[in-house]
Symmetry: C2
Subunit: 301 residues, 2 copies
DNA sequence: GCGCTTTACGCTGCGCGTAAGTATC
DNA sequence: GATACTTACGCGCAGCGTAAAGCGC
């Protein structure tokens, strides 16, 4: 397999121009160099492609038959390369990401809007999932990257902090704890029915890091797996809960009161999560960068 | 356009093997050389194709998308080249030739049979025509080469003598001139009705070179354009004619007698005719060579 | 003799292999 | 420490350009 694209290009150009001199000009090489290139191609193929006198250059029968093939081959290669360059230049491509629902609904929409303006050729697939599922889907390469709190450390994954999100007590407006909006201490939760989240959420493991966590919080009477359900229970006045600020439903079924938790303050760090061994596609890298920038300016402002 | 087939080949092989070391072995290059080749390809495309740790080599999303394309491109090139090599090696192809009817029916069949055995992949298109038409069709590139007597010299054509074919008197068995089989002198034809051939045949111009050609031969009472018609007239006893030995019909309608012409002997030289500026295709060259060899051994034997 | 292709020749730089470096298991 | 990829370095040769030669018109 000696044939090169350069040789094919030379052949096609000479055939089109019907002249070595003309083709050499178009190809920006000296005319003798072109002669040699074509001669080598003929040697490699074992077939004469041109009949040349000093006055005329004419395709042989075989050359005429090969010309369309060679043109097609060159065209195909050019197209394939151009396609990939489009991807490289973010004029085409896709990004798949998965994030916590709260992030997907609150933080991402404006960023995605801006991203869509910058790179109109790129399609974005956005899924939401809880912290556990985010990590799983990143690890399974189902997505380019994820956004969630670190659920469980994993050597294959890298976590880049984006935001800190502090925990708040959440209770219905008519609950006794809603009487004030002052910070709350953890032991103050002890006397109320607590609505907990399942262990595969990012929130639960964080609660466990609080020293002297009241028993009703540690082993909640009700345990649900997502915020919407929790919102329902809250609205029904079935109990209280603690949630990161961003996770508090925007339009709760019931009017709720939020009071920051203190002693200790507890925050979850929302991170950009990616596979350590995997590089981001050009499009994904751009979106990730945009998200990081937005998070930083959020934190600053 | 920097991308080379070698780069594509390297990419495909690394992708298939999942390893630079393995691919380098298969490609018979050193492993560092392969690293550089792939890195250059990635640089040229502007896209990372592999995520590589020291332990694993894995296609990126873009690489995975590009792999089938690259494989197809390489495959297409290989196929195209293989096709042309088949032509070069005479395992495929075609030869078009045109010859005088006498040659086509007498000389060529055994040669074509042998040629067909040697090169079973090659198709042969054989047409017949008179000397004038043979030259025209060679010149128009309708055929690879022709076989005929030189009808009129032409600077664009080359004539390679194959056979000499001496002229004979031809007359029906009951004609007075059929009484002997001895050589005949030209003036002996003067008293009989002569059946002539049209000026665009190769035979007519040759007759004109005979000194003191009898008037009835110079301006024949009947003039026809092909041998079959001539044969019909001969069979009807309408006259006599002179023909090169090979042109005498094999199975004449009437039993005919042939007597060599002398004083002067007249021969036509049957030539292989080709365009001077045009090289023969591999298959055509082989057939032409075979014909020349056969003609030589014919002459010798 | 002019214009085109081919051949000849000297040189540059690409691309290879060897060897050293680096990172992971 | 073993293994696999990357980087560094030196070298040979492919392939270029210039110059000279062949060949038709």
């Amino acid at each position: 397999m000696n044939v090169t694209l350069k040789q094919l290009q030379a052949f096609v150009e000479v055939a089109r121009q019907g002249s070595f001199t003309g083709a050499a000009k178009r190809l920006l090489v000296s005319q003798p160099a072109l002669t040699v290139t074509v001669r080598d191609l003929e040697r490699d193929l074992g077939v004469r492609l041109f009949d040349r006198t000093t006055r005329k250059v004419q395709l042989t029968q075989e050359g005429a038959g090969f010309l369309p093939t060679a043109e097609r081959l060159l065209n195909d290669v050019h197209e394939a390369v151009a396609d990939l360059r489009e991807v490289a230049e973010r004029r085409r491509g896709q990004v798949r990401l998965v994030s916590l629902p709260s992030v997907a609904t609150d933080l991402l929409p404006p960023i995605l809007a801006r991203f869509g303006e910058c790179y109109p050729g790129i399609t974005v697939h956005l899924h939401d999932a809880n912290a556990s599922a985010v990590q799983t889907r990143v690890k399974n390469r189902e997505v380019d990257f994820g956004i969630a709190s670190a659920w469980r450390s994993d050597a294959d994954l890298s976590f880049t902090p984006l935001l800190s999100d502090s925990f708040h007590l959440v209770c219905r407006h008519d609950h006794p704890l809603a009487a004030s909006t002052e910070p709350v201490r953890w032991h103050e939760l002890a006397d109320w029915v607590f609505l907990g989240l399942a262990p595969d959420t990012g929130i639960r493991p964080l609660l466990d890091t609080v020293p002297e966590l009241p028993a009703n919080v540690q082993r909640p009477r009700y345990e649900v797996s997502n915020i919407a359900t929790l919102d329902g229970l809250l609205g029904a006045g079935m109990g209280i809960t603690v949630l990161p600020r961003m996770a508090v439903p925007q339009a709760p079924k019931a009017r709720c009161v939020c009071r920051p938790m203190i002693e200790p303050e507890l925050t979850r760090r929302i991170c950009l999560i990616q596979l350590r061994d995997r590089s981001l596609s050009p499009a994904a890298a751009s979106l990730a960068a945009m998200i990081q920038a937005a998070a930083e300016s959020d934190t600053a402002g």
